[in-house]
Structure formats: C-alpha cells, structure tokens
C-alpha cells in the first residue's frame, strides 16, 4: 500500500488468486508416492457469509451447481466463528474433479463480487496410519499450508512439517509459519 493510500485512509481488500488450486493433483500424487497419504474424497470451502439477498442468491446457485456436477449432495455447516463451510464429496481417486468443483465455488463467489469473503479451501488426506491432514489453500496469499489436527484443539506439527517437505516442489507453501492458522471445525477432518 502506497503512502497516498495511508494518508487517505484507504486499504483495498485483498482479491483471491484461484489458479494455483489446479496444482493440487500433482501434490496429491507426490503425497501418495512419497508418504503414503491418500486423498479421502472430501474437500471443503470456507467463506464468510455476507448479509443481504445478493449473497444468498449466489450461495444457492453455487450449491445447485455442485449438486448437479455429480457425487454426494453438498452439506453446509456454520462454525463458531460465523464462517460457513461447504463440504464437497467426490470419489476417492478423483482429486482433479474435486479441485474443479472447489474452483467453481470460488469463481462463482468471486464473479459476484464476494471474492474478499473467501477464507480458505481444504483438500483432505489421511496418512498411512490414519492420521488426518489437510492441504489448506489461502486465497489471499495464493499459498498452501498443511493442517493436521490431533485431538481436541491440538495440532500435529511434526506431521505438518513432514507434509510441507514432501509437497514443497509441487505447490507454493506459505513461507510465514505465523499464517498457518488452525482451521478447527473443518468438515471431514
């Protein structure tokens, strides 16, 4: 932000960067080959529901679109922070289809002018010994970070760092560890 914006008190909301999502299938292959992680068939999008009719209309359209594209019907849940999660289920082999669906949600919201309300998207995996881990995509940064919950509000940092090491080459990893925030309440984790 320039000095001019500082003087005039303007800070523009960050816009979402969506295209990096399509590098996830490559990362999924690497995770499977290098660490025995398998895609669970579940992914999710987290966003901030805006007030007003415009947002509700777009949201209904998005859900309709996903339901029509095959797979299980989309479920949505609200977490305790007032964010909404759309849970998308697809066949366990179809990472590419999942990413396309997630991208569709994101681009619909962005096209309707709600891109600033997108928080993150998750693609869920399980490790060889059944530990859940997700790749979290941060729209505003265009980066990913791994998130591995381990019981009640605890994270398995070791597993997360291991995943980072594996997929480092395939997807852009968020360099600032302080931005690897915990996404408790993500569906299917």
């Amino acid at each position: 932000m320039g000095i001019c914006d500082a003087i005039l008190g303007r800070s523009k909301p960050a816009t979402a960067n969506l295209d990096v999502l399509f590098s996830v299938p490559q990362a999924a292959l690497t995770l499977e080959a290098g660490g025995g992680f398998t895609f669970t068939g579940i992914g999710s999008v987290c966003y901030r529901p805006n007030e007003g009719a415009a947002f509700r209309t777009v949201e209904a359209e998005v859900i309709q679109l996903l339901d029509a594209s095959g797979g299980k019907a989309v479920e949505h849940t609200d977490d305790k922070f007032g964010f909404r999660w759309l849970k998308v289920e697809r066949p366990a082999m179809d990472v590419g289809g999942m990413v396309t669906d997630l991208h569709a949600v994101n681009s619909s919201l962005t096209d309707a002018g709600f891109g600033q309300s997108l928080l993150c998207s998750l693609v869920n995996f399980t490790s060889a010994d059944d530990q859940p881990v997700a790749l979290v995509y941060l729209y505003k940064r265009g980066t990913f970070f791994p998130f591995a919950p381990a019981g009640a509000e605890r994270r398995d940092n070791e597993l997360e760092l291991m995943v980072r090491g594996l997929v480092d080459e395939d997807i852009p990893i968020e360099p600032e560890l302080a931005r690897w925030f915990a996404v408790w309440g993500a569906p299917g984790l």
Binding site: M1, A6, I7, L8, G9, R10, S11, K12, P13, A14, T15, A16, R48, P49, N50, E51, G52, A53, A54, F55, T57, K80, F81, G82, F83, T110, D111, A112, G113, F114, G115, Q116, S117, L118, L119, C120, L138, K140, R141, E153, E176, A178, R179, F181, A182, W184
Partner: protein, 296 residues
C-alpha cells in the same frame, strides 16, 4: 481482474485529502516561521522527538496506560481464532492480542506499523457483545492497523503538540535573546502558536473522525456484516454514556484510538470530537449493507 464490491467513498477520501493538505501546509508554514524567525528551533526538535518516541513506543505506552496484558492463543483461544480468520481474510500480518481487565466496554489498536501492531479489547466489551458484534469491532480495529492510523494521527497531532508547548512555555525560555539575530518579539511567536494550535486542533479532530468512518467502512466490507458492527456501536456507545466520568478520565489521552470515545460530554461539539456521531456511523454502515445486498 476480479470484481470486488469494495468501493472507497470518494467524498470521504476527498475530505480527508483536503484536511491532510491543510495540516501539511500548516506544518511547513509553522516550521519555516520557527526556523527563520525565532530561537525556538532547538525546542521544536525536542518536541518533535517526543512525538516520535510516542509513535515508536505507541504499542507499549497505550497498553501500559490502560493496563492491557498480552494474551497467548492458549489463554484466549476464541479471541485469537477470530483475529486469525480476519487477518487471513484481509491478508495482513497478525497483530499481537491483548486484554485489559476493566469494565469499560472498549477496544483499540495501536503500534507504529502493521507488523508492530497490537489489538486490545477490554473484558467489559467481551462481556457485553456477542461473537458477531465483537468480530465487527475487531475488524474495525484491524482496519485502523491496515490504514496505518497511528502513524498518520501521530504526524498530524504532533504539530498541535508543538504549538501547545510553545503556547505554554514559550514565554519563559524565549525572552532574553529577541534582538540577537533579528528574531521577532516573543509575543508574536506566542500569538502565532495559539493560532496554529487552534487550527491544527480542529483539523486533527476532523481527520480523526474521517479515519473512524473509513475504518468502519473497511471493517464492514471485511466481515460482510455491517449490521453487526452497527449493533455493537449502539450497545457500547450507550454503555459508555452511562458510566460515571471519574473512572474514565484516566483513559482520556487514548481517545483517538478507541472504537468509541471514552470521555463523553454533551458540551463537546461535533467539531471538536475525535469520533463521528453514532448516527453518522450507523448511516454509513447502512449504505454498506445496501451495497452488499445488490447484485452486480
């Protein structure tokens, strides 16, 4: 280019620009006056250095004066979780989080830059507001951080500080050397300082009000819920008006950074208040709400 609903308010931007220009001109004029016409230049440097110190240590000073303590994610998981998500939405570095144990419902953000910022809420505000409303307040404070309001307001108000010091003390240390190199008599400097103090006071207050409106606006677009912020403002403004003044005067100096002014008084006119009126803020938030409801 992705579409965004966020629109900056042209009128607000223009008013803010005009006030900043006015303050800048006053700065240059008063600075030139001090350098060429008086012996007070050295004193002026000291006052500006003090203002700089106040800016540089603003996070620690503000926290200490209200008794805020920094909290870890383990101590306040809800508050941290809320701020985590808001900063991820806004793509800004996470500020430190502090809680002040006082019944006065308020919140403020301070610190010299977004990476040295701290956001502080009082236990009073956490008790009175529900989660949505508290989130609205936090997004307003984060907007202050993103807009660099502490820096801007420090620069803006240090001129008034300088003029105020000269008004108060200039009579004592400027007296003896008035003829040495063509300096003006002290009384002229003194009168000029009073004028500068008065004008910069009004301009700084106007700037503060505009920046509050701007923070409301940015915060509302960030959460997408202008109504939650409105209802929070109504709740805490009413509460602050009800609390006796005696406890609040200690917090007077921090007023410019609070979400709602702590020292209320019907006698303070609209021109000299640090915050816009509740009605004005709610009207603006209603405009944002209407904008969010439209299809583009």
């Amino acid at each position: 280019m992705a579409k965004t609903r966020f629109r900056s308010d042209r009128g607000l931007t223009a008013r803010m620009g005009a006030v900043s220009l006015g303050l800048g001109a006053l700065y240059v004029a008063f600075g030139a006056f001090l350098i060429y016409r008086t012996n007070l230049f050295f004193g002026a440097i000291i006052v500006v250095a003090m203002a700089w110190g106040q800016w540089y240590f603003s996070d620690k000073l503000a926290l200490r004066s209200i008794g805020g303590k920094e909290v870890t994610p383990q101590q306040a998981p809800e508050l941290h979780g809320m701020i985590d998500r808001l900063v991820a939405l806004a793509d800004m570095p996470k500020p430190r989080v502090a809680v002040a144990v006082t019944d006065m419902p308020n919140a403020f953000a301070t610190g010299r830059s977004p990476s040295h910022a701290v956001v502080c809420v009082t236990t009073g505000i956490m008790q009175r507001l529900d989660a949505d409303e508290l989130e609205g307040v936090l997004s307003h404070e984060l907007a202050h951080v993103a807009n660099r309001d502490v820096s801007v307001m420090t620069v803006a108000s240090s001129l008034g500080l300088l003029a105020g010091y000269i008004t108060r003390w200039g009579m004592y240390f400027g007296g003896g050397r008035r003829d040495s190199n063509g300096s003006l008599p002290m009384i002229v400097v003194w009168i000029a300082s009073i004028a500068v103090y008065f004008i910069s006071f009004l301009l700084t207050r106007a700037l503060s009000r505009y920046r509050e409106l701007s923070a409301d606006r940015c915060g509302a677009y960030l959460t997408g819920r202008p109504s939650a912020l409105s209802s929070a403002l109504v709740k805490i403004s009413g509460d602050i008006a009800r609390i006796p003044n005696r406890d609040l005067r200690e917090a007077g100096g921090l007023n410019a950074f609070f979400i709602a002014p702590a020292v209320s008084g019907a006698s303070i006119g609209a021109l000299t208040s640090t915050h816009p009126s509740l009605q004005q803020r709610i009207d603006q938030l209603a405009e944002v709400a209407a904008d969010l409801g439209q299809t583009i």
